[in-house]
């Protein structure tokens, strides 16, 4: 039923889908690691950055400014939302971490309302229009450069996947091998304790917002490149999967998240390539997750919090 050409084609497709998951799961895990936030609506925050970069590109036609806008807006969102999360999590002992999940849902709602009312009349945005991409760069990157039968690979797919892997490696290094990363983790575990040890909370906090902001901005830019469009419900569509992958891999486990994200992408691609009719593909993906979680309740690679 599955011949080798189709299998390769679907693995390529799966890696492409998986690389989106990688970026989102990594951002989600990073927020868990540096700020102890269960940012359920993290994909919606990313959609906000995609929209900001679209607005800027639509006005200026400049790709560089678009990427800059994505990063800047992601940092800005962090700066605005972090005090809220921090305020809530100040009483670490008595306030449950899932309260951050509810706050995150509220933020997601606000962003969805904004995108569905204020931008482009609420209609989805495209990155392939003349105004947004006057030089046709995005279009060229999205075109396939390798095509053999049903196998098709574009620069944007390769770029997203490679950047995703590099980002995970870089973050791993920052978090576990640098002074700043050590401070991030200490603050995440116990802000008061970190303060007593003499870690400057404000400065370190700002550093961590910038780090997560850069990651979020790059994620937004790459997703825009890979998908070529965005819509107000894009974030909601990805929310469950991102949370699911993070749980399956082990919450806060960067390397595990990378592996599981890519694997889930491939599994989904193969499943979607097999089914004829009926809306079963998501069910299959989640039933698979169910089986894994029953066998490994703390995630395949273990919780790293």
């Amino acid at each position: 039923m599955l011949n080798i050409e189709i299998l390769i084609a679907q693995i390529v497709n799966g890696l492409s889908l998986g690389s989106i998951y990688v970026l989102l799961v990594t951002g989600f895990n990073l927020l868990l690691l540096v700020a102890m936030i269960i940012h359920f609506s993290f994909p919606v925050i990313i959609v906000f950055s995609i929209y900001m970069s679209w607005i800027v590109m639509n006005l200026t036609g400049s790709l560089a400014l678009g990427i800059l806008a994505a990063v800047a807006s992601a940092i800005l969102v962090n700066m605005v939302s972090a005090p809220i999360f921090q305020h809530i999590m100040r009483k670490r002992g008595s306030v449950d971490i899932n309260a951050t999940m509810v706050i995150s849902m509220g933020m997601g709602m606000l962003i969805t309302e904004w995108t569905s009312h204020a931008i482009n009349n609420g209609f989805p945005i495209s990155f392939e229009t003349e105004a947004v991409d006057p030089h046709g760069w995005l279009r060229a990157t999205r075109a396939p450069f390798i095509r053999a039968g049903l196998v098709s690979i574009s620069y944007s797919q390769v770029l997203t996947l490679l950047t995703g892997i590099i980002l995970v490696a870089a973050l791993f290094w920052v978090l576990y091998k640098t002074k700043a990363g050590r401070a991030f983790r200490a603050i995440a575990e116990n802000p008061d304790g970190a303060r007593l040890v003499g870690i400057p909370l404000l400065k370190t906090g700002v550093q961590s917002y910038i780090l997560t902001g850069i990651l979020g901005g790059l994620t937004a830019a790459l997703m825009a490149l890979l998908l070529g469009q965005a819509s107000p419900d894009l974030g909601d569509q990805l929310g469950h999967k991102v949370l699911g992958i993070s749980i399956i891999a082990g919450l806060g486990n960067l390397g595990g998240g990378l592996v599981i994200a890519l694997l889930l992408g491939i599994v989904e691609a193969i499943v979607q390539g097999v089914f004829s009719g009926g809306s079963w593909s998501n069910t299959v993906a989640f039933l698979l997750m169910l089986v894994i979680v029953l066998a490994k309740p703390r995630g395949v690679f273990g919780i790293k919090l």
Binding site: Q10, L17, S116, P124, I125, L226, S231, V274, F275
Partner: protein
């Protein structure tokens, strides 16, 4: 302690306010002003659709008021948001049960399924002008459909298209949501009627964001024609994936009428040039009313074409006007129940109603003579290729 007290006080106040909210009558149809409640979707990710439906209804009301109102009294559209929430839908609908002459909407299918049965039982007539016939047929005579039974028109247009392009091996992308599965079924009928084979139904999951796997699934069947019955914003992405795997025959791609939405064009741009699409509305039609509507929409929406659903509630307001005037409805609250039935029977069997696109006649609550067109897409515009005009 103090903070807590204050908080409790605020909560209690909110509770009191939220409970007392219904003591005031909402949307009462008086003789001074015709108030038409419109249960619409104004929040959430698809609020944009509710936005242009609302725009159409408001435009009709403005025109009517400028021309002297309904039976000499002004008309006002009361906008109500139901979101996608059935519980909210029935509660909003129940606010109208004792007072409204008629209700426009609801718009999203989850709300229709919950609220229209309630309205039907309580004898309140719903103008469900955006959904399929099948969704409201069960509630006849208390709900009107803007569309004829799905297979009645869709099957012929599909076979017409297949004959036009001379294709015989078909694959269909289906998203199992709302009415789309039913429409896909009607397409199946059309494929069979044309003597072609439906090789595969490719399932488009609601939360899919990349479409390579689906394109491969479709293309491995080696089809020569493809039908899309899924979310309009996903269609351009699927077409992109097909093209990047060597698909060139654009006219052998057919997009269903629910795909004829702004999302398709805002995302698709010139990438979908040459693809076919069918719908009940012909934007190229030239009549003074349509031209004015089209120009006004373009002015309000930065130059984009009016979406195919945008005139539906515009027509609905006019139909309510002609029912009130034609059936001699007074709006007197004491005659509410009788006048609701008058309005219902008038609309269900309305004859030669001058819609903005065509003049139609209803039978059993749906239009008998609604034409259906097949277009080719070129840079956001639609060029008519085929049309089916019933007797």
């Amino acid at each position: 302690m103090n903070k807590n007290k204050k908080l409790i006080l605020i909560c209690v106040m909110l509770l009191v306010v939220s409970l007392s909210g219904w003591s005031r009558p909402s949307a009462e149809t008086g003789v001074e002003e015709w108030q038409i409640p419109f249960l619409n979707i104004l929040t959430g990710p698809i609020a944009s659709i509710g936005g242009y439906l609302q725009w159409g209804a408001e435009r009709a009301a403005e025109e009517i008021n400028a021309a002297g109102g309904i039976a000499g009294k002004p008309v006002r559209i009361v906008s109500i948001d139901t979101g996608m929430e059935p519980a909210g839908g029935i509660t909003e609908m129940s606010k109208l049960l004792d007072s409204a002459l008629v209700v426009m909407g609801p718009v999203p299918e989850p709300v229709i399924l919950a609220a229209v049965p309630l309205a039907a039982e309580e004898g309140l007539y719903s103008f469900t002008a955006t959904t399929s016939y099948e969704y409201v047929a069960d509630f006849y005579p208390w709900a009107i459909s803007w569309f004829p039974p799905t297979t009645e028109r869709l099957a012929p247009i599909i076979s017409g298209w297949l004959n036009h392009i001379g294709a015989s091996r078909v694959v269909q992308f289906v998203e199992n949501y709302g009415v789309w599965a039913g429409m896909a079924k009607a397409h199946e009928q059309g494929v069979a009627d044309a003597g072609a084979t439906l090789l595969r139904q490719v399932d488009v999951s609601t939360d899919a964001v990349t479409f390579g796997p689906l394109a491969v699934n479709a293309l491995q069947q080696n089809p020569d024609a493809i039908i899309f019955a899924c979310n309009p914003q996903k269609i351009p992405s699927i077409i992109n994936e097909l093209k990047s795997r060597g698909w060139t025959r654009m006219s052998n791609l057919l997009i269903f009428s629910s795909g004829d939405a702004p999302e398709l064009y805002s995302v698709g741009g010139s990438n979908i040039n040459g693809a076919m699409i069918y719908n009940y509305v012909d934007p190229g039609l030239s009549s003074p009313r349509w031209d004015a509507f089209r120009a006004a929409y373009k002015a309000a929406y930065n130059g984009s074409e009016p979406p195919s659903l945008s005139p539906n509630y515009y027509d609905a307001v006019y139909m309510i006007k002609s029912a009130i005037e034609g059936a001699g409805i007074t709006g007197d609250p004491s005659r509410l129940a009788a006048e609701r039935i008058l309005l219902r029977d008038y609309c269900n069997e309305i004859q030669n109603f001058e819609g903005i696109q065509f003049t139609w006649s209803n039978n059993h609550g749906y239009p008998k003579n609604k034409p259906l067109y097949l277009f080719e897409i070129q840079n956001g515009a639609k060029i008519k290729v085929l049309e089916i005009i019933p007797e």
